[in-house]
Amino acid sequence: MNRFKIFRNLVVPVISFSALIGLWELIILWGHVQGYLAPTPLAAWEAISSNWSTLWPLTSWTIKETVWGFGAGAVIGILFGVLMSKLRFLQRSLYPVLVVTQAVPIVAIASPLVLLMGFNLGPKVVIVAWIVFFPVTVNVLDGLNHVDHDLITLARVLGARPWRTFFLIEVPATITPLFSGLKIGATYAVTGAVIGEMAASSGQSLALYQHTQIGQLNSAGVYGTTILMTAIGMSWFLLMITLEHLCTPWLRRSVARRWSRGARTLDNTYVVKGAK
């Protein structure tokens, strides 16, 4: 990456983010906004740092809910996507049901889930997975439905077995849409976890901590908690971008790296991975 690209991709977002923080600080200071209504960014940061020993266990619990829920949602989403693309009757019967699941307000299922599963990790994981699986399913399904049929036909003509066609042609063609779904899911995963925590918690929850801070008129604590929740969502999104970057080298270079030239074609020649 040359210097201009580094500047464009890293420095510009940092500058714009810093400007936003500065603007926030100025609005609070110039507007003489009382501390119990809205804090300065510095006060919010201090509310995090001075209560870190309390907040870290709550944050790690929310991360745990997000990780398990996201993992479950991603796996279920990929499985549904693949199965529905391979079994058309399943797609016809299941797709409307999946759409209905997303039309159900999450807050409406949160309470019944608590009654069924209790107050610990279970309901939160289900809620996060519920949110994550749908965009993954839809994107995987779209990816698989739009694979170049000529390529599949060519592979079959050359004697490829279905599983090899799937792994060499269909999977690489699905990775980009898959990561689109995963990125959407990553953004919403923390929202799902917080909704689950708001529905019912037994002490270990950022949402409950935030609710208590609202009652205490501690706006710095409220904003500090919001910053932590946002940081979890952002981190998860950035992790997905990094994974996508690593999993799609062909988007940046047209020739595979030497060490990764392991996929031979049926006629014993090398092909560029993922090429359609």
């Binding site: 009382q34 309470s111 608590v114 009654l115 107050f119 708001m198 037994s202 009652g215 008129l217």
Partner: protein
């Protein structure tokens, strides 16, 4: 004939003039009403708002020149902030809300007690064994509000335990969890806890409330406003409390009718008419002090709350009681 036409014209003119006068009087009267935005302490209506509903329906607010809009906050912790931002003029909050607001330097002023004693405590299903001796290891429901957060440490202290000895569960509704056995006991006040469990099971709950639960005997709810609103609109605050006093007296004297009027005013509140009637009948005895007076606040009540909240480390310093309240706006009784 001319005389008949003339008398007809005169009569029409008189009628038209009378109508105009009447219309202008009515519109003038409505224009003279001062709007007061009243924020409740809960996101939805419940029977404790009966005095306000009675004052609206019996015309007590209108006769004081007020038009009162009832606002429901987005959650159980936002009413104080709505007062400080001016989103509401007068509100209904807990005394612990007042304490934390004053601690956060929010300029709130309690202008009248709603209730006079502490009827908060622990509630369990009929037939349950509920004693402080077997509190250890129990799952207790909390609304996550300031009042419950303030009171639970007193219960735990009285039982000789620490907060870590119990599990506090916070959710949007306690009754399904209690009935499903997901929690052992719930926390509530007697006027909510009893009708809630009675309505669900047909039997009275097992309960420990007030001093038996180790909580200080302080009023639970107050009417509050901001210091700036009280000083700038003293007559409005006084008129509001006068109308509310009339509403409270009416609703206390006609309990069934007042509860029915609340049910009719808020048919989608989620509470049954039986719940509202029982809840309101349990609320009425809480509204007067030993001398039979409504609203009157004392230094002693705020000192006691201060001591309790400082002892359980929920506030750092104890302001003087006069920081919290004023009886200057109370109507004559």
């Amino acid at each position: 004939m001319k005389r008949r036409i003339l008398s007809g014209v005169l009569a029409s003119t008189f009628l038209a003039a009378s109508s105009l006068v009447a219309i202008s009087t009515v519109s003038g009267a409505s224009a003279q009403l001062t709007t007061v935005n009243f924020v409740y302490d809960f996101p939805g209506p419940d029977m404790e708002i009966t005095p306000i509903v009675a004052a609206q329906q019996q015309g007590y607010f209108a006769s004081q020149g007020l038009k009162v809009n009832i606002i429901f906050p987005p959650d159980t912790s936002t009413s104080s902030q709505m007062l400080t931002t001016g989103a509401a003029n007068i509100g209904f909050i807990t005394t612990s809300d007042m304490a934390v607001a004053v601690q956060a330097k929010a300029p709130l002023l309690s202008v009248a007690n709603y209730s006079m004693s502490n009827n908060w405590g622990l509630f369990a299903k009929p037939g349950s064994k509920l004693t402080l001796a077997n509190l250890k290891g129990k799952k207790l429901f909390s609304w996550g509000d300031t009042w419950t957060n303030a009171m639970l440490p007193f219960v735990v202290k009285k039982a000789g335990l620490k907060m870590s000895d119990i599990t506090v569960v916070t959710a949007s509704n306690d009754m399904p969890l209690l009935l499903a056995g997901k929690i052992d006991w719930t926390t509530s006040t007697s006027n909510y806890g009893v009708p809630g469990i009675f309505g669900a099971t047909g039997k009275n709950p097992v309960a420990i409330t007030g001093a038996a639960a180790g909580v200080p005997n302080v009023p639970v709810w107050v009417y509050a406003t901001t210091k700036s609103y009280a000083s700038a609109h003293a007559s409005v605050v006084k008129a509001f409390l006068k109308a509310v006093l009339e509403g409270t007296k009416y609703a206390s004297a006609h309990q069934s009718a007042a509860a029915a009027a609340f049910t009719k005013a808020y048919p989608k509140s989620g509470y049954t008419a039986a719940y509202n009637k029982l809840g309101w009948s349990l609320t009425v005895p809480l509204l007067t002090n030993a001398k039979g007076k409504y609203f009157v606040q004392t230094d002693a009540q705020w000192s006691l709350l201060n001591q309790g909240l400082v002892a359980t480390k929920q506030i750092k310093t104890a302001p003087t009681p006069s920081t919290y309240y004023s009886n200057a706006y109370l109507p004559a009784q």
